[in-house]
């Protein structure tokens, strides 16, 4: 999916209920609760944090282009967008949130190191300057010391790239961005120019391949490189649904009615949400001073056992559990 279509798609889903800038914040992966909750509410998780380095200029340029082409009309505070042609994509920004780039940087440095090592040249300028990545790869090389490491990695990459769901263009983007001995990588801009496409479109094609492939990694070396790169979706489907209702202003009782679930189940959802989302606002359900009282009790009684707390404070279990999801 190219950048123009992507922006149109997101604008269409927001359906003019958010400003024209909302897709920009979503793509950048802004960490505000508004953007995060919007991603969930509008089912836009696939596009969250796709392009953390997107500049406002290039975003504004594509908006201007869409307007000029007649695909988008801006009328004070609202917009109308022409629906883009139906397209499926493999994006899953919410699960990676930049982790796919971390994975790739590790792979770039590992391939470079192994390639230089094959050529018996240990003096080279690392393609990745980030010290955390350098440290990771150093540790990796300490852990995997077999002589056939380069060959094993080669086999793993080839079999991963053999997947028919990705195109030859994506395979090129993957491999030519790796550097080897006397074979410096190509920049995205250079690769894009060989196909006469915009750099950002090449970036999206590369990302889409990564998002698809990384979930299918089953081989040991690549799995080790993936460590910590995928955020497992912390919310169960049901809790996510409850969150959607809450974001629309429903009370807990209304959600229970609407979803034909017990109030206790909804309470469990709220606890789950609060645990997993530090930005989730709990004050509608428990007052600040109650939260402080619970924590004072934890400190004096030196326990977090609910039964003890409940008996001492005489507050219901839900409120105590919710209070305990926050530190004071």
């Amino acid at each position: 999916m190219n950048f123009q279509l992507l922006v149109r798609q997101i604008l269409l889903i927001f359906n003019s209920e958010r400003t024209i800038s909302a897709p920009y914040h979503l793509l950048k992966g802004k960490k505000s609760s508004q953007t995060l909750e919007d991603a969930v509410l509008f089912h836009l998780q696939p596009y969250y944090h796709l392009l953390p380095f997107l500049t406002r200029e290039s975003y504004d340029a594509v908006i201007a282009k869409l307007c000029q082409q007649g695909d988008l009309q801006l009328t004070n505070e609202r917009y109308t967008v022409k629906p883009p042609p139906q397209q499926s994509s493999h994006f899953d920004g919410f699960s990676y949130r930049g982790g796919e780039r971390v994975f790739f940087a590790r792979l770039q440095l590992l391939v470079q190191t192994l390639s230089q090592r094959n050529a018996q040249n240990m003096k080279f300028v690392p393609v990745v300057t980030d010290l955390r990545i350098q440290r990771f790869v150093k540790q990796f090389l300490r852990r995997y010391t077999t002589a056939s490491l380069a060959e094993d990695l080669y086999k793993e990459i080839v079999s991963l790239l053999a997947d028919e769901a990705i195109s030859d263009w994506q395979r090129l983007l993957f491999t030519y961005r790796l550097s080897g001995y006397e074979q410096p990588a190509q920049t995205l801009e250079q690769l894009a120019s060989t196909k006469d496409v915009a750099t950002i479109d090449a970036e999206l094609a590369w990302l889409e391949a990564l998002h698809y492939l990384l979930k299918r990694v089953e081989s040991p070396l690549l799995l080790a490189l993936l460590e910590g790169c995928i955020v497992s979706e912390p919310l169960t489907v049901s809790a996510a649904k409850t969150l959607q209702f809450l974001a629309q202003g429903y009370t807990l009782e209304q959600v229970a009615n609407e979803r034909k679930l017990k109030l206790a189940t909804i309470h469990d959802h709220v606890i789950e949400i609060a645990r997993n989302r530090p930005t989730f606002d709990i004050t509608p359900y428990v007052e600040d001073k109650i939260v402080r009282r619970v924590h004072q009790a934890v400190a004096t009684l030196k326990t977090r056992r609910l039964k003890v707390l409940q008996q001492t404070l005489n507050i219901d279990y839900f409120t105590i559990r919710l209070a305990l999801t926050r530190e004071v």
């Binding site: 391939v111 192994l114 390639s115 094959n118 003096k123 080279f124 300028v125 393609v127 990745v128 300057t129 010290l131 380069a150 060959e151 990695l153 080669y154 990459i157 080839v158 790239l161 030859d168 395979r171 090129l172 993957f174 491999t175 030519y176 790796l178 550097s179 080897g180 001995y181 006397e182 074979q183 410096p184 990588a185 190509q186 920049t187 995205l188 801009e189 250079q190 120019s193 060989t194």
Partner: protein, 465 residues
Amino acid sequence: MLERALQHYFGFSSFRPGQEEVIRALLANEDVVALLPTGTGKSLCYQLTGRLKEAPVLIISPLLSLMQDQVNQMKKLGFKRVVALNSFLTREQFTEVLANLAHYDYIFVSPEMLQNVNIGRRLKQLPFGLIVVDEAHCISEWGHDFRPDYLRLNTWLKYDSRPPIVALTATATSKVLADIKDVLCIKEASMYLAPIDRKEIRLARQWFTTAQEKVNWIEEYVSTTLGPGIIYTSSRKKTEQLTAQLRKWRIKVAAYHGGMTNEDRQLIQEQFLAAELEWIVATSAFGMGVHKNNIRHVIHETMSPTLSGYMQEIGRAARDGQDALATVLCTEQDKEVLQFLHDTVPTEEMVRAYYAHVSLAISDSNAELLKYLYANYELSQAIVYCQTLKVEKNKAFQATKNYMETSKCLRATLLQYFEQATVPQQACCTQCGLNVEDYKEVRKFTNLSKQSLDWALRLQQMLLK
């Protein structure tokens, strides 16, 4: 004995002009101001001195991108304990480096880092054998690339156990030299001024009526002439446009400018080095730290704002001592643009307004200068300072303009600005009867087929022996 050390640490059998004298003086604990033209191995002077003194070396460097490159190059040479203290480090990395300062043999630092009281104090406690002030001409507003921040070195350098200083500069007009000595408080410095003329670089100048004519000329030149070469232009946008234009001729060319990521810039440099690229279209961001010795052409699509800058940029050609061509393309409009660039000194009204705390719309460089002036000078002094600066900038502009217009020898004109004399030579410049064609190697068009990409092959070449 020094040569044996050179052989031992670097594998070279002899010094280049100037290096040995500088190192001897530093080993004798003298302060040194050295003008070593680009590409003559400035860094070797402090690298070897550090090794011989068996003491850590502090390198103060004003240009962040250059600093990173120097660190990379040193690591490539096998120096392990090298670090750069600058704003590129994350907070975590910074704390880690600061906690382990004593571990490093070579510490690069930006002048603004020294202003941080904590860092400044910690560094003074280290037993440095040498302090290097790199790109020292940045200290002087009479040099190009003036950095007001650099002036504050003055205070930091005043401490009892201070080791000898070596100030490395690419420009050495008498005014710049006086400023360097003044700011660094080195009265008794030894001076090494290597001749800056590079005979193997033939100078050419070409006039046009429109900018489009220049583009046509470059297309013609590059498509028929074998590189490697650099084309300098004045803006990021122009580098991209010209690159796109040249790619149509299937020339292996890429753009290089400060708006690209560090990683991408590094890759372009390496591709150029590995001869995967034949031409680079760049802004002045390109060049420092490019260690390619067979560059045959440097074309200036637009003249550099100063002759010092021009000298440095063409100096990247012909490091192997073989002939090269440096061509500047001129139009009448270019002179206006240059004039505009030199007109950036704060006016008297701006200075008055700034001192009166009236908010102003001004450029970043002017804001930086005014901030510095405000902290150090009275209003009247600041006004005089800016007036003098304007006069000097105008002189620099006149010198550049003169190079574009003169009917005399280009080499003589250039060297005159650096207060050095010329030795007449054959095929010196287009004013002295240089026939440019004698120095161009014709490209055979048949070589240029569209690059075919094969992902499986590439992976094999990278990972299988």
